[in-house]
């Protein structure tokens, strides 16, 4: 790709060249702002990002991190929270907004820190599976033939097993830890993106502007990177946003079963799992981590729906 663009010298040139694109983006932003639900989604996600970034400034209690060795003989960093049995299972109060858990830890602080874990899981799983999917799906769609056939049959097989169950089996084979949950989910998730990308590439490949680029002698990589990838961005973005929520739900479910972090870590699914036996005496223990999951997933879903509405020209009018 060209690093220097001699034809763009000033900002004015840039604005002129991309006038139609900028107009389009402005129109999309206008549509997005008009949609109440999309804005709610955006705000929820901004809150998540803010809370995850500034957790130490929001909460009263903080975890410490210690290195321990696991069943598999590897050393990992484990999160530890101070235990104070005299404070155990206190109901919500000004001091402990969400109450305390069975070990006397502040649930509000753990929910706040839990956002970091959730955020990390969502971003890593979706980012890596998207990259794998774009790469393999792009190649399959662009070159077609036997490569395409083989790749599609492989994705068929992956998609023939329900997400949660395949991820559960893989995570069980890898051993219990959050990292293994993420690895399992990447293995399960990439085929979705590969298929989406392949479909996009096949549709765009036949467009006249790609034909034109090819006829003036553009190379395969130039066509892929300059024409096909940028134009398949919108549907991919919608899928990614919706998947961030779905990934969080599956990860929390695996954690709830007991495949994720070691007990005592601030992870929402795990907190619900440990609070379950105290549910009737301490409703706050399971309720608040669950509400956190609902709000974040809701945020991604509303945002994804909103993006779909504004990027799909058929739905715009």
């Amino acid at each position: 790709m060209d690093k220097i663009r001699p034809h763009i010298k000033t900002i004015d040139d840039f604005l002129k060249k991309h006038e139609s694109k900028i107009k389009d983006l402005r129109f999309m932003a206008h549509l997005f702002r008009k949609s109440l639900l999309s804005m709610i989604g955006l705000i929820l996600i901004l809150i998540l990002i803010f809370v995850a970034l500034f957790a130490p400034f929001i909460t009263s209690q903080h975890p410490s991190y210690v290195r321990v060795s696991t069943d598999q003989g590897t050393t990992v960093t484990e999160e530890r929270w101070d235990i104070n049995f005299s404070q155990s299972l206190l109901p919500p109060s000004p001091e402990h907004l969400f109450g305390t858990d069975d070990y006397g830890r502040d649930i509000f602080s753990m929910v706040i820190y839990g956002s970091q874990t959730s955020f990390r899981i969502c971003i890593i799983v979706v980012a890596i599976s998207t990259l794998i999917g774009i790469f393999l799906g792009g190649i399959a769609g662009y070159f077609g033939g036997i490569i395409d056939e083989i790749l599609m049959r492989i994705t068929d097989v992956f998609l023939a097993i329900p997400y949660l169950i395949l991820a559960m089996a893989i995570a069980a084979a890898l051993g219990r830890s959050i990292d293994h949950i993420m690895e399992a989910m990447i293995i399960v998730w990439w085929p979705t993106y590969a298929r989406l990308m392949r479909g996009q590439v096949i549709a765009i490949r036949e467009q006249q502007y790609v034909e034109a680029a090819r006829s003036v002698g553009a190379s395969n990589s130039r066509i892929l990177f300059r024409h096909i990838f940028p134009n398949s961005f919108a549907p991919l973005l919608v899928e990614i946003t919706l998947d961030l929520g779905a990934v969080l739900l599956v990860a929390a479910g695996l954690s709830f079963i007991g495949l994720g972090a070691s007990p005592g870590t601030a992870e929402w699914g795990l907190m619900i799992s440990s609070g379950r036996i105290y549910m009737f005496q301490a409703w706050w223990y399971v309720t608040f981590p669950g509400l956190a999951i609902v709000l974040v997933v809701l945020g991604f879903n509303l945002l994804g729906d909103g993006l779909r509405d504004i990027t799909d020209p058929k739905l715009r009018r």
Binding site: D156, A160, P162, L164, I165, M168, R276, N301
Partner: protein, 340 residues
Amino acid sequence: MKTWEFIIRRLILLIPVLIGVTIITFTVSHVIPADPARAFAGGPKAQPDVIERITKELHLNEPLWTQYFYYLNDIVHLNLGKSYLESRPVIESLAQYFPATLELTIFAMLIAIPLGIVGGIISALRRNKLSDHITRIIAIVGYSLPIFWLALMLQYVFAYQIPILPLEGRLAIGMNAPLSITGLYIIDSILTGNLNTLGAALYHIILPAFTLGFATLALILRMTRSSMLEVMGMDYIRTGRAKGLSERSIIYKHALRNALIPTVTITGLSFGGLLGGAVLTETIFNWPGMGRFAARAVLGFDFNSVMGFTILVAIIYVLANLIVDILYAVIDPRVKLGGG
């Protein structure tokens, strides 16, 4: 091409998919674990002599492709190994727990499909009215809820705060299961004319089935609403109105039939989500199905059972999608049977 030819063709196409599934489960169980013999022998607490025996039984010292053929041979002969938690063949455990999961899944569908379709139609016909807003909120929240949290909240409200429904189980404690004919308590108790058991079984299935079906309900609601809105804007609906058909006949005879086609597809696809959700729902409601068995196996390092469950679920899901494909071709004559 005739329908039966299409069905046979699809059945033949199943074979490579099923072989692919066994390659994935083989990789997960024999290649991914750091020490497969230890994993099969019960995890970290496995005894050295057991590990040695397992290594021999599963031919773990031989090349991978030899191992795979032994593995495939075992699966074809329905030999899924022994469950360490229950000290019996995994296939026996799965056979015992299967009917409970089937019953729960059927009831989840029975709740989700009619409510989803009716709600979706009402929502579409009264677009932007109050009932539309309510159904849209249900639909959006429904697929944002973690199913295990929904289960706990429902238990808290309907079994503890307002105790009108049982907390867990398939029947009241101390109650005998009906004579097993199908293994589905509700059908068995009807067949044996045991009204007491029928009542208890229905009473116990409401909460878990609603929990399991809620996400699917939300999905069907959404799909039906949007496809109904799309169909109502079609030319043939306008033609129908122009020639003076009643609104009732337009909706039921012309719009609905076409609007339901995408709903059928989404219902088939959501079946996988139901099977996954069953693991969590059954664990919380202490429902003696395959899902609870699998979750316990995961915790108890009972690797054979986890893998056996995975293979069975994959086969069920593949068959369910085949049935949906066939249904799809039957209800929508535009689908070219020969294509794809």
